[in-house]
């Protein structure tokens, strides 16, 4: 069950989604495109698994969703960041930086 797995990748995916949505309200397809554009080679995200993540974030109150007309003229579900989501993004970014820094330090020292 997806909601039970909370490995590193999932946490990372959440953070990426929050980061992307922070720029402007965007629909699921758009988020998937952005993730692929930014990290096509590094992160292999199965597009479908994005949606449960989006809904989970919405359920937690970090994202707000509403249906509006997209650039193609068709109705799509747009996600935007809530105030709570912004705080969460900041916390997660700080956390990530600390973790990345620590890992980098270990790798350097062991060398």
């Amino acid at each position: 069950m997806a909601s039970d797995k909370s490995d590193l990748l999932q946490g990372t995916l959440d953070m990426l989604v929050l980061k992307i949505v922070a720029l402007e309200p965007v629909h699921g397809y758009g988020i998937a495109q952005r993730i692929q554009q930014i990290s096509r080679e590094v992160l292999q995200v199965q597009q479908g698994s994005l949606y449960p993540a989006l809904h989970r974030l919405e359920k937690r109150g970090w994202l707000r969703a509403d249906w509006r007309e997209s650039e193609t003229g068709r109705e799509a579900k747009f996600y935007s960041l809530t105030r709570l989501g912004r705080t969460q993004l900041e916390a997660e970014t700080a956390n990530w930086d600390r973790l990345a820094g620590a890992v980098a330090l270990i790798l350097k020292t062991v060398e």
Partner: protein, 876 residues
């Protein structure tokens, strides 16, 4: 709820669809073939169904959705087999209903708080007997405690009264309360109309009526306040009405009017000496704790105050034997949130035992239902195997079974709850024993919680065994229709469990039935059939001389009635009532220290022994010349003679008691007083007509009738009694047999209910045996065919099947016996001349169970023996 889910589902789909379409479009823009583009988009997206499942999980947890599905599925499958559904629901409803009914009685008698302000702050202050029973207090003791206890903020004393009241020309016998002035302020009640009693009303001729009485007699008319009614001969003014819902401070007791305690002296025409006498214990005392004080602390204070009072007061008791008894007395404060303890003591034991019995019945119902579910599982094995082959896990299958039993439990609980309402009302009618018993068994949160809890337990117990068993199945053999024996063992175990529980219930039933039989066969020393008895009530007190005149006139009228062989009267008729004890000195006998120097006294009219049938062994009966002023005489019982005179002739000896010197003129056979269980007592009879000062209402009048229904005297005496004096009325006419039945209420209740549940258990166990044997026979049809082809006779086949029944019966019987040995000793005090391991009761139960189960097994056995070998062999 349903629409929201539909919308959510649509939105999920269109969101995913949007993504797929956009991806496909981008490939088409790159020049890909549209069909290929869509395929590629789906591929990149991943398993769409899986994603949608995950999405749904985000919105509603998986288990909830699964549970819903399980329940819907269960409902659908159950609806397809209405026979099974009805059987299962009925089984559960009986178990749950019986448990709920007994629990609602326990709730009504012991748990429901009084409808007063902050009931948890109420305590009862009582003397305690050696066995811990609470006993009434005297007025001096009440005042002593009320004025000295520092842990209470107020206290009142109460006695219940019954009076003939005349209101608007209608005479009615009504129960009431006589109370001290703080009654309503301690309880914290507010009037529904007018005012309640308080300080200043102590000697005022005023009364407060209950809301129910206000409704019944005045139709809630506010003008009732200020009206008057006559209680016996005292005119009382109604000053107010109690709030609705409140009746009295003891569960089950109706009280329609409340008067100041001191008014009873006027109403009943008594003296006021009870206000000074420490040995007139007839008051119930209750108090309200000061805020923050615990019952334990109050109880410690009560005891500390009681010891010096007891030691100084009881020192005045002359009889060393009685003094020592009294000096062992204790006193305590008891929690009284649920009111006085009376009913609790009377019914606690039977209700506790009944609770155990119905718990066993529920267990039996669960075992039975479990067996039914298991048999169903066997016939559904292919369906289960298919589901398993499609990937359903063990947990999921177990859950499916639990969902089914949950659904059954809910239906069972609903039906059981309805049954319980009817059943508890029937029980209350039984407990009331023809009197008023005002118990509320309307469902409250405790009863609902209890029913919910036991239904859940029943659901788990019944569903778990088949559910777990399902987990063990293997996909392949079942799909290939190879039969495994796993649940056959479990099924047999369940039948053995059913037989065991039934055996325990049957043993309990036969113990209680044997107790009742022994009680009714006990040698009482009297002949109870063909005796009519009644009491008197009066609206005026009589002067002593007039009272004696009336007493003999009533006996005279009774004797002149057609068909009457002998008519008499007694302060206490045998069995129904207890006698009073008096200290005696006996001529020619020295009472050694520590010996009981009291004997049981009864005052009787001439011909008493002619009515009771107790033989007069020596000397003479009382006669019309034994009146006030003539030398005091007495008749003593055989046990009296044996205890005090040994072989010496008793006639002509003298016994002195309360400064009166009686000459023994006769010896009568022993007779039982105070119930069928009571031992014979050393009894001394004195003539009613020498007992000056007693009231005509203090006697029971009775007559032996030659043939026919003794009750035919009732309308005749009803007319004759007011002719003796217009103030007199006949009260409680009944036959002796009825009076005795009233004294055996608990025993009759236990025998009836025990027998009922035992019979129920027998039926359930027989059905269980029938079910499993029919199933076995249908499975073994090939084997039976082979046996018959090889020359087995019909008799051989019947015996073969019945041997199987015996194989279940024997372990079941043994298990039941062992359980009974552990359980029945808790009901020991309710048995009479029967030990908890009475061999006769055990054998009786075993025989009943064996006969019923063998009969139940005989039908399948017969069918098996009628198998045509050819058909059987071609069966598969």
């Amino acid at each position: 709820m349903f629409f929201r889910e539909k919308r959510l589902e649509r939105q999920l789909q269109s969101e995913v669809q949007y993504h797929l379409d956009r991806t496909a479009q981008s490939y088409i823009a790159q020049g890909m073939d549209p069909a290929e583009a869509h395929r590629r988009a789906r591929l990149e997206f991943g398993g769409a169904t899986q994603i949608q499942e995950d999405l749904r999980d985000v919105h509603s947890p998986r288990w909830l959705a699964d549970l819903r599905q399980d329940l819907i599925y269960a409902a659908r499958t159950l609806r397809r087999s209405p026979g099974f559904l009805a059987c299962a629901v009925l089984t559960l409803a009986l178990g749950i209903g019986a448990n709920t009914a007994i629990f609602s009685l326990i709730d009504a008698v012991m748990l429901q708080p009084l409808p007063v302000r902050d009931p948890s702050g109420l305590i009862q202050i009582a003397r305690l007997s050696k066995t811990g029973d609470s006993r009434a207090v005297s007025y001096p003791l009440f005042e002593y405690f009320r004025d000295r206890l520092s842990s209470i903020s107020g206290a009142f004393a109460e006695m219940s009264i019954v009076n003939t009241i005349t209101l608007g020309g209608v005479e009615e016998n009504v129960y009431g309360d006589a109370v001290t002035s703080q009654y309503y302020s301690v309880l914290g009640l507010t009037p529904a109309a007018g005012r309640l009693l308080g300080p200043g009303d102590e000697t005022a001729p005023v009364a407060v009526i209950s809301y129910a009485f206000w409704q019944r007699r005045f139709g809630l008319d506010p003008a009732a306040v200020g009206k008057t009614f006559v209680a016996d001969r005292t005119v009382l003014t109604i000053v107010g009405v109690e709030p609705p819902g409140f009746s009295s401070i003891a569960h089950g007791r109706t009280s329609d009017f409340t008067v100041p305690l001191f008014m009873t002296e006027q109403i009943n025409g008594g003296s006021s000496e009870w206000r000074q006498h420490w040995d007139m214990n007839f008051l119930a005392m209750m108090a309200r704790l000061k805020p923050g004080v615990t019952v334990d602390r109050a109880s410690a204070e009560v005891y500390a105050l009681f010891v010096p009072w007891r030691n100084s007061t009881y020192a005045a008791i002359q009889s060393a034997f009685t003094r020592n008894l009294f000096l062992k007395e204790q006193a305590a404060a008891l929690p009284a949130a649920a009111g006085l303890n009376g009913l609790r003591y009377e019914f606690f034991e039977p209700l506790a035992v009944l609770m155990c019995i119905v718990a066993l019945v529920l267990l039996l119902a669960c075992a039975n239902l479990s067996g039914l579910l298991l048999a169903r599982a066997a016939s559904r094995q292919r369906e289960i195997s298919i589901r398993r082959a499609l990937g359903a896990g063990n947990g999921r299958l177990t859950r499916q079974y639990l969902a089914e039993s949950l659904l059954l439990a809910v239906c069972g609980a609903a039906v059981g709850f309805a049954l319980a309402q009817w059943f508890s009302r029937a029980l209350i009618a039984m407990m009331a024993n023809g009197d008023q018993l005002d118990l509320s068994v309307s469902p409250d949160w405790r009863i609902l919680a209890f029913t919910g809890a036991i239904s859940l337990i029943a659901c788990i117990l019944a569903g778990l065994a088949p559910g777990l068993n399902a987990g063990k199945g293997n996909v392949n053999p079942a799909l290939k229709q190879v039969r495994s024996g796993g649940h056959r063992r479990l099924g047999r175990a369940l039948v053995v469990a059913q037989l065991g529980i039934s055996m325990t219930l049957l043993i309990g039933a036969s113990l209680f039935i044997r107790t009742l039989v022994k009680l009714y066969n006990v040698d009482t020393g009297i002949r109870t059939e063909g005796v009519f008895l009644f009491n008197l009530s009066t609206k005026t007190p009589f002067a002593p001389a007039r009272a004696l005149e009336i007493e003999s006139a009533i006996v005279g009228r009774l004797q002149s009635m057609p068909g009457v062989v002998a008519g008499s009267a007694a302060a206490m008729p045998p069995i129904a009532g207890g006698l009073w004890d008096q200290r005696v000195q006996i001529e020619g006998y020295v009472i050694h220290p520590g010996e009981d120097d009291t004997v049981a006294f009864n005052a009787i009219a001439p011909k008493y022994f002619g009515v009771t049938g107790t033989p007069l062994l020596l000397g003479r009966d009382f006669n019309e010349r034994d009146v006030a002023g003539s030398p005091p005489v007495a008749i003593v019982s055989q046990l009296f003679v044996r205890s005090f005179f040994g072989g010496q002739p008793p006639l002509g000896r003298h016994v002195t008691s309360a400064n009166v010197r009686y000459e023994i003129v006769g010896v009568a056979g022993d007779a039982k007083y105070g119930g069928l269980r009571a031992p014979m007592s050393k009894t001394m009879y004195i003539p009613m007509l020498q007992r000056v000062g007693a009231r005509p209402t203090g006697y029971t009048y009775f007559a032996r009738v030659a043939g026919g229904d003794p009750m035919r005297l009732a309308p005749l005496m009803e007319r004759a009694v007011p002719e003796v004096d217009p103030a007199l009325r006949m009260r409680t006419p009944q036959t002796y047999a009825d009076a005795i039945d009233q004294s055996t209420l608990n025993e009759r209740m236990m025998a009836t209910l025990g027998g009922f549940f035992g019979l129920l258990a027998l039926i359930v166990a027989s059905l269980g045996i029938f079910g499993i044997m029919a199933f076995q026979v249908s499975r073994r049809i090939n084997e039976l065919g082979v046996r018959m082809a090889l020359g087995a006779t019909r008799g051989n086949i019947v015996i073969l099947v019945l041997r199987e029944v015996a194989m279940l019966l024997i372990p079941g019987c043994l298990a039941g016996c062992m359980a009974a040995v552990c359980l029945t000793r808790f009901a020991k005090s309710m048995l009479f001349e029967v030990t908890p391991t009475d061999p006769a009761a055990f054998s009786l139960a075993a025989v009943a169970l064996a006969v019923a189960t063998l009969a139940a097994g005989f039908l399948p056995a017969l069918r098996a023996s009628r198998t045509d070998p050819m058909t059987a062999l071609r069966h598969e």
